[in-house]
Amino acid sequence: MAGVAVSTTINGDAVEYLCQPDETLLEVLRDRLGLTGAKEGCGTGDCGACSVIVDGRLVCSCLVLGAEAEGRKVETIEGMAHGDQLHPLQQKFLEHAALQCGICTPGFLIAAKDLLAKNPSPTEEEIRFGLAGNLCRCTGYDKIVRAVQDAAEVMKGA
């Protein structure tokens, strides 16, 4: 198979890579670029562990081809904190202990960031529906929902 040359932007940085035509964006991020924050849970778009934002749209990177990122803007969990300064969602996930094993956490953080960008004051129900595409097998979700509610308050005040 001939490789595909891709020029894209990831977390604000211009990035170029070669990938196979059937390689997913998730595989490119993890295996070619060393951005291992996005996780492969199911590989079929059901669990949300590989969530990234492409041109302002929340997507599962396992359901995007690496070749499709040409000319797009990709945001991953690695771009969420500014240096040592955690994003309010990251801070609140820590404070509320909204994680145990942590595999789902990058996906939840990205999905929650997208949710709050579109709806800064979501109700609990809106948070639960908004994050229904992210599966967590440890927390029972309550702590995650509370962390997102708390982060929303902080971000509104900022």
Binding site: P21, G45, R57, C62, L63, L65, A67, G133, N134
Partner: protein
């Protein structure tokens, strides 16, 4: 395998028509990539249609709406005019998968994937939506219900692409609705579903009606008799009873892990009644 990103529909159609091995059209990829990963399809050519002009746009025309084949369902939910004119179509499209899947999946893909349980398709069939099909020999506009011919099969010829879905402009007193049954609240595949589209006269009596059922036959069903029974009524109890009976009778469902034949028949009737009531209210009926 080759991945190409043509800039014109003619190039896309040309590449698909001359492809030697299996070829696949890529818009949102939420079905295609899963099928590739599962080994159900090994395309030698993938034609990404997202860079073709106009295919990523929703446009309001003199005749109604034109929804490009590459428009993600999330965009439909953000389009106020479309949501106001066709709330049933938009709510059906927005039931597909998660927020992540919404950012990618398209109603054209939902149609061409030809699942009997596709959420947006009963709503589109009830709405009388049309598909604009482009092939090497030109363009044709067909009713959406003539696209799927069975699970995973369509009437599209080799090289043909559905480039857009068309929805009519709405007259006064019109409403549509879509309901599905799933055992959870989100992120599931319809066990049975129903789409209803109504227009009313000035006195609130139903003037035209289309009823479609999902997950109850090898393809989404347009139940013409169910539409006819509604015409002239104001959705009284007796009419609703007849509607349910016709819909239950029209079903040709299967028994599977998600539901039994008996259950699907019963629920098809119930959902048609409830969707009709919502569509009637949306049309301004009391």
């Amino acid at each position: 395998m080759r991945y190409i990103r043509p800039l014109s529909i003619e190039d896309a159609v040309g590449e698909l028509a001359k492809a030697v091995g299996p070829a696949a059209i890529l818009a949102g990829g939420s079905d295609l990539l899963v099928r590739m990963k599962g080994g159900f399809i090994e395309p030698e050519l993938i034609v990404d249609i997202k860079r073709i002009g106009g295919l990523s746009d929703v446009t309001e025309t003199a005749d109604g709406f034109r929804i490009g084949a590459a428009v993600p369902c999330a965009v439909l939910g953000e389009n106020k005019a479309l949501k106001q004119a066709w709330p049933g179509v938009v709510e059906a499209a927005n039931l597909i998968g998660s927020k992540q899947v919404q950012g990618r999946c398209t109603i054209t893909g939902n149609l061409c994937n030809a699942s009997p349980a596709a959420d947006s398709v009963p709503a589109l069939v009830a709405a009388g939506a049309k598909a604009v099909v482009v092939g090497t020999s030109g363009k044709r506009t067909i009713a959406v219900e003539s696209v799927p011919t069975g699970p995973g099969r369509t009437s599209l010829a080799k090289g043909e692409i559905v480039e857009a879905i068309l929805l009519d402009k709405r007259p006064e007193h019109a409403g549509d609705a879509y309901l599905r049954f799933i055992p959870r609240t989100e992120m599931d595949i319809a066990v049975v579903s129903a789409g209803v589209n109504l227009t009313l006269d000035d006195h609130g009596a139903i003037k035209t009606a289309r009823v479609a059922l999902g997950a109850s036959a090898p393809t989404v069903l347009l139940v013409e008799e169910a539409g006819q029974v509604l015409v002239g009524s104001k959705l009284d109890e007796a009419t609703l009873e007849r509607l349910a009976k016709i819909c239950s009778g029209a079903c040709r469902p299967i028994d599977d892990k998600r539901g039994t034949i008996e259950f699907r028949r019963k629920v098809a009737g119930v959902l048609a009644q409830r969707a009709a009531a919502i569509a009637y209210k949306r049309a301004g009926g009391k």
